[in-house]
Amino acid sequence: MSLYMHLLAIDIWFILEKVFLIGVIIGLSFFIAMYTTYAERKVAAWLQDRRGPNRAGPFGILQPLADGGKLFFKEEIIPMTSNRFLFILGPALAMVTALITSTVIPWGASYVDGTTRIALQVADVDMGILIVFGIVSVGVYGIMIGGWSSNNKFSLLAAIRGASQMVSYELPMGLSLIAILLMTGSLKMSEIVAHQIQHGWHILYQPLGFIIFFVCALAECNRTPFDLPEAENELNFGYHQEYSSMKLGFYLFAEYINMFISSAVMATLFFGGYDIPFVDESAWGLSPLLFSLMSFAVLMAKVLFFLFVFIWIRWTIPRFRYDQLMNLGWKKLIPLSLVNMLITAALTLWLNK
């Protein structure tokens, strides 16, 4: 009995460390998502030769708070004929799945000081990137449940539209990911980053794979050119048509968190995660705390760049028609990613001989 007691012992510090990390990451996700809405409006304005929100606080910095406050104070309407439980579950699920994907991302180099070692990653599980994919596909349920429980034909149509889009684009996304996995030989996010630090960023070896992945990420986040599920005006606003107040806010917010997380995933998979290019920063002899913080800042810089590109694309490219969307997904991206995968596999075999 006492032989196995140590298995039952709870390492309180380990739990505290992870709880703290989860808190920080969730807080950070909310903060970034909040300010992405602000950035979206600012960048949209700049691209259209306007100034954007500049009335709430200096440079309109408090605009997201004002928007959030407005959403909280709006009347909360639950349609009489809707399924109440599912109607509330929809946005909750969208939000939860958006947040859970952040668990496996390595946010920075581990803090190593003597014997203490704190990984800036909530869980470094063996199947790492697959968890992200699994949870992203659960995110479809948020859309489907919300659209279906609204008991509105247009919401249901939009939800089906959204679900089929996400399912279609997950295929080429997964296929382009396989090419990466062939190169690294591991699903672990930390090892994918370590491999890139050693051998150079994956974008150098997989430019086509990155483009496919990026296009699919746009589709997964329901961003323009692929924002058919929530076409604001012409297609009846989409699956959250019956939603109001903060439940609508949750859906919109989950979209921005998804953007943030997918930017982080792209930075991790293709742009070396927290690695600084061309230099060996571990040889600089920085203090462990500073080293971890710096690597985190580097990752955030990459993430912010991707967020900007997301926004930039949104205000440049018009929306695809639905048949064009499906054509692009099934007839262009899937063959391309298959070819990319085969070439990578052949080269990997040939070079390893």
Partner: protein, 185 residues
């Protein structure tokens, strides 16, 4: 025969089916992205309204002002020439005779007891200003503010009259603006 074109910018529409590379849209998207990126650094077209106002043209014709002379006496003699000149029939007035002891209020023996301009009818042509022999009416550089009812747009004499040049010096200067009426000898 040579075809004559207005401009040489017309382009024939290319209706050939897209090649595989074209149908990926990547190159066209890159071009579009570059165009929007250029706009990021352009000068902004916005005028930040309450802090910054677009200057009026020097010939702008705005709200009417009933003028006073340097001693603060009303110029208007209610001759009715402005009302006659008005193509929109926006001006009505009632004349009255100046009583003894009112010489400091009105410049001539006759004055306008009632003077109304319907700003909903007015077309701001400025013919009243041209018709006036006494420099009593001129068009300023402000426009009529919004109102909840139609009645509010019928401007009475009190609303049109310029502030007193001696008793309300600052308000007078402000109302005068850049468009002082040309003083006639």
């Amino acid at each position: 025969m040579e075809t004559i074109r207005l401009t040489n910018r017309a382009k024939a529409v290319d209706r050939r089916p897209m090649t595989f590379l074209e149908s990926l849209y990547l190159w066209s998207i890159a071009k579009g992205m570059f165009t929007t990126l250029k706009h990021l650094f352009r000068k902004k077209a916005t005028i930040e309204y309450p802090e910054e106002k677009r200057p009026f043209s020097p010939v702008f014709r705005g709200l009417h002002v009933l003028n006073r002379d340097a001693e603060g006496r009303e110029n208007c003699t209610a001759c009715g020439l402005c009302a006659v000149a008005c193509p929109a029939e926006a001006i009505t007035m009632e004349a009255a005779e100046r009583l003894p002891g009112e010489a400091h209020l009105y410049r001539e023996e006759k004055y306008a007891a009632k003077y109304e301009i319907n700003m909903l009818r007015c077309i701001f042509c400025g013919l009243c200003e041209e018709a006036c022999p006494k420099d009593a009416i001129y068009l300023s550089q402000t426009f009529a503010p919004a109102n909840y009812g139609r009645k509010g747009f019928i401007y009475k004499k009190e609303e049109l009259l310029i502030p007193h040049p001696i008793h309300q010096r600052e308000a007078y200067e402000q109302a005068l603006g850049d468009r002082k009426p040309a003083t006639k000898a």
